[in-house]
Amino acid sequence: MSVLTTDTEAGTGAGPAPAPAAASRPTRLDLLVLPALIFFIAFAFIPMIGVLLLSFTDWDGISAISFAGFASWRQVFTDPGTYHALWLTLALMIVTWLVQTPISLLLGVFVAGHQRYRAALAVLYFLPLLLSSAAVAIAFKSLLDPNFGLAAGLHLPFLAQDWLGDPTLAFVTVVFVIAWQFIPFHTLIYQGGVRQIPVSMYEAAQIDGAGRIRQFFSITIPQLKYTIITSSTLMLVGSLTYFDLIFVLTGGGPGDATRILALDMYITGFKANQMGAASVIALILVVFGLALTLGIQRLGGTDRGASQMEGM
């Protein structure tokens, strides 16, 4: 059974005189949630309404804000660039998931093993997470320079491609650099998940004659169901809104090869000074994100109310 060492603490009950209980209890709890609620509403929820309102303007950032009806909406939805950004974002999300999940899962399982050197590996694997996205992007920018970077150093001409200048390669590079930075994070999540799988299950399987691969697919993966959902949710929602790294690495280029939705929004708003249109794009981002989160919830079938410890 799960062990709680707070029994002693709960038992003594030595404290100030009991407050008048029942009548004020509902109010008390409501009060506790207020600070968080206020902050969230003020700086997250109201801005959301603000985005909706701004989408009906054609504000340029410095003049007065004036109502413009659906003009910005029309502009965004008739612009092929918007659909391109949507498509790129979708592609990025899918490819990112396909690249990062298997690698993180395998690494997480591997690192969860108890050999000493694996722990040392885990320490090193974590390093990329310590860097800010800006730092990672800057480092890779000089690393990938076809003339002065890593390729020149390793004398591998095949590595001396125009990584950041060729549209297709740029996309691949972005996927790679994002993976480089975030696989460590998901590895950790999977490591944590794997550590919770009771050995008894593996021992039973081994007795039944199941090999390592069979064990992996029949035990590890099903047991990691919620971990996979958590990691995937974070990964997908994260890649939907990915901005920092791509902004510094490619700025959306070359051309518009990496101009995902979030970047498209920034460029439309802060470079072309079309805040109304940028707000429309922002709304698309929100709808996308909401649909995604709700979709994953439904798919995962998690009832947030139930504890996962049932039955243990």
Binding site: T6, I62, N147, G165, P167, P254
Partner: protein, 446 residues
């Protein structure tokens, strides 16, 4: 398990203290960008703020000029510098937030117009008229980009910056070739240099306005200034002019012939990496603004003194444009924020009359190889280290029948951003000339 920090009092105390501390420190920033650490100048006068770009030699010259001004006792100016691309975004959010600097750096044209339309910059017309001798201190051709609807909204500063061709002499000697005078020469040279394993042209394609300079010249050479005038006047389908299509085709021919250095679309001009390619001998030629002369002089004075040759953009056979036309920035400009306090505006105006283009500053520009837009400059050229170059620039600028302002400055911000993206696509061979024209026609009137 029990642990010290679960003691409610001490934990809350710690939390409160650190949060309050953090907020206290953070709140110190709530007052707007007050000039911090101004120069220790004379007692009199108020303060003002100035934003400008990083990059030598301009940065150093401006710093000295401002320090000299601060000692005059008419006010203290604090300068904040930004890199080119980030500056363009930052200044906008600053103006929108009501936190614009007193002296706003710019290029005139469409962006200045958007500021003026939003009542964010001072109308300086009457002040200039009333300050005797002021207008004459500047090269006459520079007032155009600052004048909108007959009113003047900015004062020319720094240098006039035509776009020129730069050549690496030793690479030309090695190839036994001459700098090009016509476009056909250019295409032949591309073959020659590729054969030698040297990139024909350096290009900082990631910055996009660098690619734009090519198109500006080609369009002017082929169709003459009227084509862009029509675009600027927002005439419908102005981009479908045959000259536009021919220019785009020629550019794509150049790209397909490997005229530009490999990886050009990921090289940024902001870091001067494109200039480095020329003086390290990796590229033979480069099309860039006259500021590149100063930049390269700063990084590699030996190359500039002995290995560099400069010329005007080649002509195009059968083109309507005068080969003596130039494109570029007639000047840079300072505007005064309309939202600044009266005291700040006074200091700013004092700087424009007494701190700008002092003899020392003019000399500094000349010494750095830049042609200042001060009328007094032309007399000072003789005998200076860069006399040849500066005389070339001066002659080009004063004799040019037409000095086309950079498109991304002349057009409105929305049009400019689309233009840059489409030019980028054009260079990447992702858009055909017809598609380019269609896409740009859609921006007419925006």
């Amino acid at each position: 398990m029990t642990s010290p920090i679960t003691s409610r009092r001490s934990f809350l105390g710690l939390a409160a203290a650190s949060t309050l501390g953090a907020f206290g420190l953070a709140a110190c920033g709530t007052s707007g960008p007050a000039p911090s650490g101004g120069a220790s100048g004379g007692g009199g006068g108020g303060t003002a703020t100035m934003w400008a770009l990083t990059g030598q030699p301009a940065e150093g010259i401006r710093k000295n000029a401002v320090e000299a001004f601060n000692k005059l006792g008419k006010g203290t100016i604090t300068v904040t510098t930004f890199q080119n691309d980030p500056y363009k975004a930052k200044i906008r959010t600053a103006i929108g937030a009501g936190e614009a600097p007193t002296l706003i750096y710019g290029w005139g044209g469409g962006i200045l117009k958007s500021y003026a339309d939003a009542d964010q910059v001072e109308d300086l017309t009457s002040w200039i008229e009333q300050t005797s001798g002021f207008k004459e201190r500047f090269l006459p051709s520079t007032w155009g980009a600052a004048t909108l609807g007959g009113k003047i909204f900015a004062v020319p500063i720094q240098s006039t910056q035509p776009v020129l061709m730069y050549y690496n002499k030793s690479l030309f000697e090695k190839a036994g070739a001459q700098p090009p005078t016509t476009w056909d020469d250019v295409m032949k040279l591309v073959e020659v240099f590729n054969g030698q394993g040297v990139a024909p042209f350096s290009l900082g394609g990631q910055s996009k306005w660098t690619s734009m300079m090519w198109l500006e010249y080609l369009l002017d050479r082929i169709g003459g200034p009227d084509v862009f005038d029509a675009i600027f006047a927002n005439k419908a389908d102005a981009w479908s002019d045959p000259a536009v299509l021919e220019s785009c085709t020629k550019i794509q021919d150049l790209v397909k012939a490997n005229g530009f250095i490999k990886g050009f679309s990921s090289i940024a001009a902001d870091t001067n990496a494109d200039q480095a390619l020329l003086y390290t001998g990796k590229a033979a030629m480069m099309l860039h603004g006259s500021w590149a002369y100063g930049g390269m002089k700063d990084a590699n004075p030996d190359f500039v003194a002995n290995g560099l040759q400069v010329g005007n953009f080649p002509s195009v056979n059968g083109g309507k444009g005068d080969p003596a036309n130039i494109v570029g920035n007639p000047a840079n400009y300072f505007s005064i924020s309309a939202k600044a306090t009266d005291a700040e505006k006074e200091v700013a105006k004092a700087y424009l009359t007494d701190g700008l283009f002092t003899d020392a500053e003019v000399q500094a520009w000349i010494d750095a190889g830049q042609m200042p837009v001060a009328a007094s400059a032309s007399d000072k050229l003789a005998g200076t280290a860069d006399a040849t170059f500066l005389q070339l620039v001066f002659d080009l600028v004063s004799r040019a029948p037409n000095f086309q302002q950079s498109w991304d400055q002349a057009l409105s911000p929305g049009q400019a951003e689309t233009l840059l993206t489409n030019i980028d696509q054009l260079f990447l061979l992702k858009l055909s000339p017809e598609q380019f024209a269609t896409a740009m026609n859609a921006t007419i009137g925006k």
